[in-house]
Every structure is written in structure tokens, then in C-alpha cells.
Subunit: 228 residues, 2 copies
DNA sequence: CGGCATCCATTTTGATACTG
DNA sequence: CAGTATCAAAATGGATGCCG
């Protein structure tokens, strides 16, 4: 495979030769929040069969973007993690996400699946480094039954699947409300005020949390679909 | 068409539903340096047949990412241009390019095509806003037989196909040397010193040109292919 | 559970011929 | 040129079945 090449001496084309095939960038999106097992990956990517998933993972391994690891005890089960090169695709994936947040996130369709991890990555896409100046804090997000944590250190953020070891602050919220949060139907401040979200922990960390993320104003791509 | 959807309520997936098909992002790359005619687009994308190109353009139009325009006289021929939404895919394309510059641009293969416009976009990907503080200048690049210009205004840059109206400075260089420039085999300063490139125009604009672009250090993705 | 192998219906694509 | 029509070759997806 991978015989289908754009054959262009161009950085964009070379990159797309490596990760432009169907599912590949979404696979990387999944791994951006930490190592995942084969089954978890498939669960996050409905429609991707085991055969193709296997092929994609092999390709990522062969190209040095991901590698197979063995999860530490007590898990002791195989999983896949990004290499440094794979990790650095984060900015590209987040750029796509930022565009999508602005231009493509209209109402959720009934057929669409949703996982909190995607919204967490959406938060990361909206992270405003300037707003985090002088801040060093670990936040834990409990969304539905899934746990995530974000480590903010000055102008940087890191968002990973799983609970934090020593969170400075914890935010608990239902999956639907969290979805509205990144969907701009709800601001973090409103969610806290209305009780949709409950928070605890360090007061300053919580205060600053509100300003860390800057959601783009949603826009319509199409000129005038259906005039009156 | 477009019946093949990831069906995920996720900004990244939604974006890839729109522009993740084969050729689409490269088509947008082409249009990022200005409107292009059908034939020019095909010339820049060897391997893309007229049928698929036509389908992709229709799709981009239908989704509000591009639109068909009529070039002003004396051209008076149809062309395609990005809409605002399409234009804003620039950051995502450039992020992919930056990654590629660092992790995927090894030696050029014989079969690979090359167009100066790609390297111009590569420059834009390496643009360092901080280095352009207080700078407002228009540069014209004459690469082989193609003309480009870059308009730098404070921390922003805009790179377009075609000559500039009133360039502050002009850089003339052969296609191969320009290729080495973005390939890190040659710095802009060296190119000028060795005569591979010739420059003219405003002295300060030329002086600052050297520092405007920050090429990433090239890295190898693969651990140890062929040990000694 | 993890992951490969196989078979098959459907799409997508690539290449080329053809028309205004 | 710009763009449509056509057809063969690949990629995908879905459904299994199998083995450690």
C-alpha cells in the first residue's frame, strides 16, 4: 500500500501522503489524548473495521508516527501511542478543529456519534496562551463517566485521557452540557452558575479557568440557502 | 456524493468530511496563492483527472469554500477563488506544511514534480510574526519564470501568485536554488552572497527579509532504518 | 479481548476519449 | 481551453470466521 502518492516535492503533499488517507487523521486525533488500545480506538471510530484499523496502525508504525506499547501494570495489555513525530501533528489537527468549530459545527445530527474526548480536544484547540500567562495548574474534567485532565503551564496546555494525580481543580459535568459548552450554547461561566457543572478545588485556578478558552464565533459557509 | 461521512459530532471530523477527500486540500493549497483557472489547477496537480477535478470544484462550490469567478479583462476567462471560509483553511494547510517541512522533506525523488508556488507557501508557513514587528513591505519573488509577491504588514503576511504592483524589494532566483532555500540546503543570506539570488530595492526591506522566515530543523521520523 | 484473513457489495479513483 | 462521459483498477465497509 501507500503506492498512491501525490508525487509532489511539497511539504503539504508529503504530509498528506503520510496521513491524508481516510481515518488516519482521526486515528491521530484519538491518540492525541493519550495511548489507546485497539478496541478503544475502534469504539471511537464507528465505521472503521478491524481490518482497516489494523492496516492504518501498521502504516503509522512503519512511518514512525505511532508505536505499539505495553501498558504498565496492572493493565499489561497492548496499546498504541504517538511518537514525537506523531505528537507534533497536534497543531495540524487542532487547526482543522478550529476551522471546524467556526465553520462546520451546526446542529448535531441524529446519526452522529459523540465522545467527550473530542470536546476536550476542542477545548485544547481554543486554548488561549496569553490568557494562561503565569498560570500553572492541573484541571480534572469528569464528563459523564469519562475522566480527562488538562495541565496548564504558562502558555502551554496538555490534555490527556484519564484522571489527574493531583488536580488543583475539578470540574464535573454531564456529557450533554459539556457538549453545549464547546458548541457555544453555553459558556463555562453559565454552566457553573446554573449548576450544570460543579466545581471544586483551588479558587484561583477555577477563576482563571473561565478565561482560558476562546471559542470562535460560529459562521455560516453558505451564502443564502433558502431565501424567503 | 458526500454520502461517505464520518458521522461524528466533532470539529475535526466535520472538517475532514468537507475537505478530507483525496486532492481536496491540495486544491485548496493551489487556491491559497490566488484564483486559478481549471487548466492551471490541473497542471499543478498531476494525476488528478479532469473528471475528478471538476467534481471536487463542484463540491467546494456547493459547500461554500470556493466560487467560480470571471477573471477581469484582459483575461475574461473563468477561474476559481476561495471564499472567506476557504481562505481560512490556510492555517490548517500551513500547519500540515510546517509538519512536513520538519518531518517529511528528505531528498526530492525523481518522480516528484515541483512548482515554485509550493515553496512560496512554504515560506509563508515559516513566517515569523515577531520578526516582522514594525515592518510593512511588499516583496516580489521571481522564481524561474513565475512571479509571486508577499505583502508583509506588521505581524501578518500574504503571499500571492503574480507580480506586485509596487514592490519595495525584488528577489530573483532560479527554481532549483529556490528549492534548496526552502529545503534548508541554502539560507537566504547564502543565496544572496553566492549570487544564486539577486536582489534589488529598498535596503531595509532586504535586510529584514533574511530574518522573516524560520525554517524548522529537519528531523527523522524513523528510529533506525539500517543499523551499521 | 486483540488482531489477522477472507469474501464481496459499493465507492472512489485514474486514465482516456470526446464535445462545445 | 473548459468540462463531460466512460470504463477499469483500487480503496473502503461490513460481515464473518479464526486463533492466541
Amino acid at each position: 500500500m501507500e503506492q498512491r502518492t501525490y508525487n509532489q516535492y511539497c511539504a503539504t503533499a508529503r504530509t498528506l501522503d503520510l496521513v491524508g488517507e481516510r481515518w488516519t487523521l482521526l486515528l491521530i486525533r484519538e491518540l492525541l489524548t493519550g495511548p489507546k488500545r485497539f478496541g478503544d480506538l475502534q469504539a471511537g471510530l464507528r465505521g472503521l473495521g478491524t481490518g482497516l484499523l489494523s492496516a492504518r496502525l501498521k502504516h503509522l508504525e512503519a512511518e514512525g508516527l505511532a508505536h505499539k506499547i505495553t501498558l504498565p501494570p496492572p493493565a499489561r495489555t497492548p496499546a498504541y501511542a504517538l511518537t514525537e513525530a506523531g505528537e507534533e501533528l497536534g497543531p495540524a489537527v487542532l487547526a482543522l478543529a478550529r476551522w471546524g468549530l467556526k465553520w462546520a459545527m451546526d446542529e448535531r445530527r441524529e446519526t452522529e456519534t459523540f465522545h467527550p474526548g473530542w470536546a476536550v480536544l476542542g477545548l485544547r484547540a481554543c486554548f488561549d496562551p496569553d490568557a494562561a500567562a503565569g498560570l500553572r495548574a492541573v484541571y480534572e474534567f469528569r464528563v459523564g463517566d469519562e475522566f480527562f485532565h488538562a495541565r496548564v503551564d504558562e502558555g502551554t496546555i496538555e490534555t490527556l485521557h484519564g484522571p489527574a494525580q493531583h488536580p488543583d481543580a475539578v470540574l464535573t459535568i454531564g456529557q450533554d452540557d459539556f457538549l453545549r459548552l464547546t458548541g457555544q450554547d453555553l459558556t463555562l461561566a453559565e454552566a457553573i452558575e446554573t449548576g450544570a457543572a460543579s466545581v471544586s478545588g483551588d479558587a484561583e485556578a477555577l477563576t482563571r479557568l473561565r478565561g482560558l478558552f476562546r471559542l470562535p464565533h460560529r459562521r455560516d459557509r453558505k451564502p443564502d440557502t433558502a431565501a424567503p
